[in-house]
Amino acid sequence: MQHKNKANKVLVELKNINKMFLTDEVETHALNGVNLTIDKGQYLSITGPSGCGKSTLLSLLGLLDTASNGEYKLAGHDVSHLNRDERAKIRNKEIGFIFQSFNLISDLTVAENVELPLTYRSDLTKQQRAKNVQEALDKVDMGHRAKHFPSQLSGGQQQRVAIARAIAGSPSVILADEPTGNLDSKNAQIVMSILDQLHAEGATICMVTHDPRSAARSQRIIEVFDGKIVSDQFNSEVSAIAV
């Protein structure tokens, strides 16, 4: 059954990915021969010690950076050799980012921040954009703060706005790099439940986390060590719920 549906079930396919940084004549092999397949609708955690290459892996998945070599297929298309603008288009449509440090733009209001990725599309009217923004903000329970500026919000609220921004364009995959890293446990709890909720609605989520409790909420946990995937486990508890 798994084999039969492969063509439309697999979203991400990394083959033998290497990433090498060169700074001051020093080579850092951040990723070393990584192979990874992610199915549609999967909720995946990436864990590992500091400096092992988690963020680098997520950047490559999100097309924020290119691999030194290897092959990357997103929804069946090879995206390893696209130019900057083609990659930007894919990020815009297919990928939603959530950062540890929120990365909201200070000059823009909450609503404008959420609308930002939609403005880079040509296929949406102003009304459609406004509707998407409203829906996304309502999902994270931030609709009442639409006119505020980020500096007027708490960290937890900012991160909720950032999540709204990530989902406003209905991407195929949400990439989150330690989304709760800057939050206290209460706010972290809220953010995690939003992610659970999104997953329940069918979103594909790929999250880097240090926190075993957060990782435990996902379907699948990957452990990276020194640029290599050293463990790949399905979380029976969670997947049981999902199935």
């Binding site: 930007a88 000059d107 900012q158």
Partner: protein, 831 residues
């Protein structure tokens, strides 16, 4: 103790980044140097009251400034005498007229030489507050009927012409061929009222008139210590009112523009060069102040960049409990270091500029020997105070911009390594203000500087409608002793004939010589002289006299055109028919004929001069001559219309001669000398120079000032370009993370570029909008005194804003491109 550490810390930063330090110091030096120079220039020439070492300020008491003749009207000594009795702001008044004195020693070994003479009231040196170093002062008795004629010499005339002769006092000299007694020698460098070399007394009836007269003089007084020019002018306006009631009908012309008559002006401001180019001097002040501001902002921005680099460090220091005033003190010390080194270089630069300007003034006044004695720039105590003030101003602006920035952020947010929120907003506001100020200031400086520069350039290159190549010019002066001037008498015609005989004899003798082509006589040669009067055309008279056209009027000799390269276009040149006293013939130039007469046919029509004082006799137009221009080409008082009258029945005691020669200039000058001596050795020729030199004279001040503007303009472009680039590059670099976020969210290169270019566009619209509005206002003021041609407008108001637009777009494009080319993951982690 803590200050010691701050100083050490600041000094270490300077040494650590030599390129940064050099750039900053250079910009400061330019700003301060120009300020110091401009202050010295403007205070020497205009603003520092003239006191001649006393503690009282001199004021000029004269009539209205006459723009069409570019000088202040002189006034009736009768009223000046009356004034002293009635006005409290001054205790005493003196007055004078200017002229020349042809001096020859009695021994006759040294030749005749022309000197500037001041004809004054006997109390002149008392009011000036200076006594002669040898001999005695004028006394009232020198003015009595039958008293011996006396002359006072300047130190310089005594030294150069009389070789410092110790027995000079009480000796006799010939002044305009009349023996006079030398009564004294004034101190060195004393040339009051402006460039006097000798002082003589006014005729007695002019000094003590008993009723209103046609006599004219310029008044000088010293303000009482408790008084001010404003107060004096109030008193003067009351005086004018009272005086008006008693003024006989025939002198009503003294009142101009309403009831204005006597006015007090700060002494230096009454100088005609200053008055004429006042707006240029003021624009210089504006431009230099703007450059100082521009320099401050550039330096502030450079220091700001550094604060941004060290922002985390500062945040940590604040978190660790370092008091904010310590941080400010540290940043101020940095500015103090920069400004101190910059000020030193500024002093050297300004001294150099002052030396160049003094040399330019010397050249400018060399021929006429008419340099006002206070036109000598120097860095005095006041200038040093101004420099000090400018340094403090600069330290505050350059130190406080970064200090304010450093302390106004939300440090917690920074330390949480958090959002692009809290700190980003303030920073981007600062940057917005900086970019717009850069655009605005650059715009004003560049527009004004280029308009002045191009205007004076075109004026310098102007075509005056005459050939100046292979021409020398000179001024001839006939001694009164042999050539009488008796107005309205039976002898008048005979006097004219005697003068004409000399002039025409000299002309034909010269033209017979192989190296002389042609000789012209004109009251003022094209390219010089200015001032117009109104004339009306028979059958086309205007209702009010001053709605008639106006023209410049010259008296010329027969057969003069070819010597200066002009030619008759219609009708004929002057000849014997026009020499009879009541012939009333005139020639007009082509512009008058084309503009004012049907089909350009002026010959046969009649015109007459008309003014508030009445009208002249009708004149018959007998010819039309090619166009030429009098006055300086950038001066609004220069005339486009010229009318000419024959010299024969108006022959003057002195006239300008222009000679077209072959061969060498020196030989031509010698020929002129020799021929004059052979004709009448008593006649003096002076201001002998090439025609080109003559034309450059009225332009020299403008040429000098325009060189200063050129320097300002080049510096402004440099500061503007580097400043705009630094500010916008800085602001874009600060937005690297934001760009990273936008790209992560799917912005294409074009999206990002569009975003920043359109922001730059908004900055440009605001900056240029305000900048051009202010420039237009300044240009409007400039326009009252100078002709700004369309090319200057184009370069100033179109090309300069375009240049700024190009600079801003480039300064946005290059740094944005750099950031866009980063991988988004890298941009996101930029700090």
């Amino acid at each position: 103790m803590s200050i010691g550490i701050d100083i050490k810390y600041a000094a270490r930063l300077l040494v650590k980044k030599p390129a940064f330090t050099a750039t900053t110091v250079f910009i400061i030096a330019i700003g301060l140097g120009l300020t110091l120079f401009a202050y010295s220039l403007l205070s020497s020439l205009i603003f520092k009251p003239l006191t001649l070492g006393t503690n009282q300020e001199f004021v000029a008491i004269e009539g209205q400034y006459d723009y069409s003749h570019a000088y202040r009207e002189s006034v009736d000594p009768f009223h000046l005498n009356q004034l002293v009795q009635e006005v409290d702001a001054i205790d005493d008044i003196t007055y004078y007229g200017s002229g020349t004195a042809l001096l020859s020693a009695i021994d006759a070994k040294t030749g005749t030489k022309k000197f500037n003479a001041t004809f004054a009231k006997w109390n002149f040196f008392d009011v000036a507050g200076k006594q002669p170093i040898m001999g005695r002062n004028f006394t009232e008795a020198d003015n009595f009927e039958g008293a011996e004629k006396v002359i006072m010499l300047s130190y310089e005339v005594w030294q150069s012409y009389f070789k410092g002769d110790n027995n000079i006092v009480d000796s006799m000299v010939n002044v305009d061929s009349e023996p006079m007694r030398v009564i004294g020698v004034m101190p060195e460098n004393f040339a009051f009222p402006s460039h006097a070399q000798t002082w003589l007394l006014m005729p007695a009836d002019q000094i003590n008139p008993t009723k209103p007269s046609r006599n004219s003089a310029f008044g000088i007084a010293r303000l009482n210590n408790s008084s001010s020019i404003e107060k004096l002018n109030q008193e003067l306006s009351h005086f004018n009112q009272r005086m008006k009631a008693d003024l006989p009908e025939e002198f009503i012309w003294r009142l101009r523009n309403g009831d204005n008559y006597l006015q007090a002006t700060a002494y230096k401001k009454a100088n005609s060069d200053v008055r004429e180019y006042y707006s240029i001097f003021i624009s210089l002040m504006v431009v230099v102040f703007l450059i100082l501001l521009l320099a401050c902002i550039n330096v502030g921005n450079l220091l700001l960049t550094r604060v941004n680099e060290r922002y985390k460090e500062i945040a940590i220091r604040v978190a660790l409990g370092v008091p904010r005033q310590r941080l400010i003190s540290q940043m101020l010390w940095e500015s103090i270091f920069f400004c101190a080194i910059g000020a030193f270089i500024a002093f050297v630069l300004a001294s150099w500029g002052i030396e160049l300007t003094n040399a330019a003034f010397t050249r400018m006044f060399a021929v006429q020997q008419d340099q006002p004695f206070w036109w000598k720039l120097a860095i005095d105590g006041d200038a040093l105070l101004v420099l000090f003030g400018a340094i403090v101003f600069m330290i505050l602006i350059t130190g406080l911009i970064p200090a304010w920035r450093a302390l106004s952020g939300d440090f917690n947010a920074v330390l949480r390594d958090g959002t692009r929120g809290a700190m980003g907003k303030k920073a981007s506001q600062t940057n917005k203000v900086l970019v717009i100020s850069e655009i605005l200031l650059s715009c004003i400086v560049l527009v004004i500087a280029t308009i002045l520069l191009t205007t004076s350039y075109f004026a310098d290159k102007a075509d005056y409608g005459v050939d100046t190549d292979k021409r020398i010019t000179a001024r001839l002066e006939l001694p009164l002793e042999y050539y009488d001037v008796r107005w309205d008498t039976d002898f008048e015609a005979a006097d004219h004939k005697k003068r004409n005989d000399f002039y025409y004899q000299l002309k034909s003798k010269l033209e017979d010589l192989p190296n002389i082509e042609a000789v012209a006589y004109m009251s003022q040669l094209p390219g010089t002289g200015e001032g117009t009067s109104h004339f009306e055309i028979e059958g086309m008279e205007a209702e009010v006299y001053n709605e008639n056209p106006s023209s410049n009027n010259e008296v010329i000799g027969r057969d003069s055109w070819r010597a200066v390269g002009m030619h008759i276009i219609q009708g004929r040149d002057f000849d014997d028919r026009d020499a009879v006293p009541d012939a009333n013939s005139m020639i007009v130039n082509e512009s008058i004929a084309l503009d004012l007469f049907p089909d350009g046919q002026a010959v046969g029509h009649r015109v007459r001069r008309i003014s508030s004082r009445g009208e002249g006799e009708w004149q018959n137009i007998v010819g039309v001559v090619s166009d030429s221009y009098h006055g300086s080409a950038m001066d609004t008082s220069s005339a486009q219309y010229n009318s000419y009258h024959l010299m024969d029945s108006r022959s003057r005691q002195s006239i300008n001669i222009a000679i077209h020669y072959k061969g060498g200039e020196l030989q031509a000058k010698q020929t002129l000398f020799d021929t004059i001596n052979a004709t009448d050795a008593n006649v003096a020729a002076y201001h002998i120079q090439s025609y080109q030199q003559l034309i450059q004279q009225p332009m020299m001040l403008v040429t000098t000032v325009s060189k200063i503007f050129l320097f300002c303009g080049v510096m402004a472009v440099l500061l503007a370009a580097s400043g705009i680039y630094a500010v916008s590059a800085n602001s874009i670099t600060q937005k690297t993370q934001e760009i990273g976020v936008r790209r992560a969210l799917g912005a294409t290169d074009a999206n990002i570029m569009k975003l920043f270019l359109s922001q730059a566009g908004i900055h440009l619209i605001i900056g240029l909008g305000i900048g051009i509005a202010i420039s237009l206002w300044v240009i409007n003021i400039l326009q009252t005194t100078m002709i700004i041609n369309s090319i200057s407008y184009f370069i100033g108001l179109i090309a300069m804003p375009m240049l700024i637009i190009a600079m801003v777009l480039l300064a946005t494009f290059i740094p944005t491109k750099k950031v866009v080319e980063m991988e988004p993951s890298e941009a996101l982690h930029h700090d």
